[in-house]
């Protein structure tokens, strides 16, 4: 009998804790003002402080520099933006309007397309300091994607958008860390191209933000002791 009491007490405690955690999580979610979006679509680590990374991302009109599927982003008012994707093949360019639901400098941006848009998208991008760092930022994008009345889904986003978003984040990292999107003889073309120069390479985005190298050459690695480096002995 005593034993059963004991078990029941533990069970009650566990349920109580679980319940508290759930309530806590719901409160946290409500506080952040976003519904559950599903699994992370893509992530990247950037060697700059969250505030700087956020600010570069928040400059919406410049997103097409590294989001290669976009033609343009126009800022209509403080909450509304108009996004235009590049046409696929000979098709027409698709546009949609989105609303910025949440915008905490250096932390998070949440967006949602207008209900009547053909392209349905909802998403959140977060900027967090990497563990133990005072400078490195972890960027996470969670998003849902869909068409018209079917609404947005995170499954569709993972299926169709993840490779694109991963590429976008890789280029975003290049822009923030090195000042521009790096091109190679092969990558400067839309279609597969040999690694040799060509006259018909895609024109480069004009933007270059000077960003001098921060790494030190020749020194500073733990294994680099034999040549008189300042590494750990």
């Amino acid at each position: 009998m005593a034993k059963r009491n004991h078990t029941a007490r533990w069970l009650a405690l566990a349920l109580g804790l679980g319940g508290a955690a759930t309530v806590g999580y719901l409160v946290y979610r409500a506080k952040r003002g976003v519904s559950h979006l599903g699994p992370v679509t893509a992530t990247v680590t950037i060697n700059k402080r969250p505030r700087e990374v956020y600010e570069r991302f928040r400059d919406f009109t410049k997103l097409p520099e590294f989001m290669t599927y976009l033609e343009s982003v126009e800022v209509i008012d403080a909450r509304t933006t108009r996004w235009t994707a590049k046409p696929l093949g000979r098709g027409k360019a698709v546009s949609w309007e989105a609303e910025t639901l949440e915008d905490i400098p250096g932390q998070v941006i949440v967006w949602q397309s207008k209900p009547d848009s053909l392209v349905q998208t909802r998403g959140r991008v977060t900027f967090e300091l990497a563990p133990g760092s005072d400078r490195v930022t972890e960027v996470r994008v969670e998003m849902q994607l869909g068409v018209g009345k079917l609404g947005a889904s995170s499954k569709l986003a993972r299926l169709f958008a993840t490779p694109q978003v991963k590429g976008d984040l890789r280029r975003f990292k290049q822009v923030v860390e090195t000042g521009e999107v790096l091109r190679s003889d092969a990558s400067a073309h839309v279609k597969p191209h040999a690694a040799q120069p060509s006259a018909d390479a895609q024109p480069a985005p004009a933007v270059f933000v000077p960003n001098p190298p921060t790494a030190e050459k020749g020194l500073g690695h733990p294994l680099n002791t034999a040549i008189g480096g300042k590494g750990v002995a």
Binding site: N47, V136, E177, E180, L182, S184, A194, K217, L223, G229
Partner: protein
Amino acid sequence: MRANVFKGKKHVAVEHVPDPQILNARDAIVKVTATTICGSDLHLYNGFMPGMQKGDILGHEFMGEVVEVGKGVKNLKPGDRVVVPFCIACGNCESCEMGLFACCENSNPTGWIPEKLMGHATCGCFGYSHLTGGFAGGQAEYVRVPFADFGPLKVDKALSDHQVLFLSDILPTAFMGADFCEITPNKVICVMGCGPVGQLAIASAKALGAEKIIAVDKVPYRLRMAVEKAGATDVINFEDQPLQETLRDLTAGRGPDAIIECVGMEAVGTGMQFAMDKVKQTARVQMDRPIAVRDSILACRSGGIVSILGVYAGFVDKFPLGSMMNRGLTLRTGQCHVHRYMKPLLEKIEQGVLDPSFVVSHEMNLDETPKGYDMFMHKRDEVMKIILRA
């Protein structure tokens, strides 16, 4: 301009291609004055590296004269004589700040390809397949050099091309392999493979104070150079002598304290295992022939270090993990973090402590590159390192 391009398996040709242009603000265009054929180019030539495309310009070890710089390059000007690291590094990412330049996170625009094969992206390299970015290589009259404000090393005209060219790849690579070995005079070092990197690994181990260095190869002229020029104290020709037993004999049963593997995915060996590896690699069941790595692990002293410099691309079979685990070996490897070693090694060359020029065996015109590949592959005319002049 003229450039040596990949046409298909065992087929390269010097062709006229468009001149490179500035594609990014931090680019420079370098007029190549001297370049080489690297042992790792043979893996591309023989069709064992994935991600090659017809028309790719090869070559990753080169030096030259700056002819044009992008608006973001302030430290170089036309006329500067530079040696260019084969691996491309931005100098801004976390990996670069940690000195892991060959793991640069920004220099590979086609990084999604190695991500699929290797789990994470590699850095970009010149002329080394679309896995490493799809950058045109240095076996050409001109090359576009990305992140030119960070990579290229300016060198004084007083030093000859033969002395400084190898700062681009094989000297830092060989030196890093020796640096991995935590060399002290009482440690026995073994170098597997006596091609150009192996020769310089022996010279580096000697410069770092090793007193006993065992060189392993099967080509007599290479073993001869290892002793006469590089500084090996003992040699093993594994076709004439059983490798494991001879290494044990030379070290009174202990095995070498550290082994530098300078062979790579096209290793040759003796016996059944080699035949199996060759069949599997040809059938594309296995990407690499890891014979030298297996031998190194089995031969190394318990608690010792195996330093892998040879190039590998994918997955291997019969990896002696049990030997490695039970005997507490440390395995160190990597594409060379060239930027880390260039300047300190240039100083060593200036001081006369190291002189890599002894590996040069031939000079050719760029037009003769295909002949050079064939000669290097078949080890004709006692070839060691071929220098190409545009």
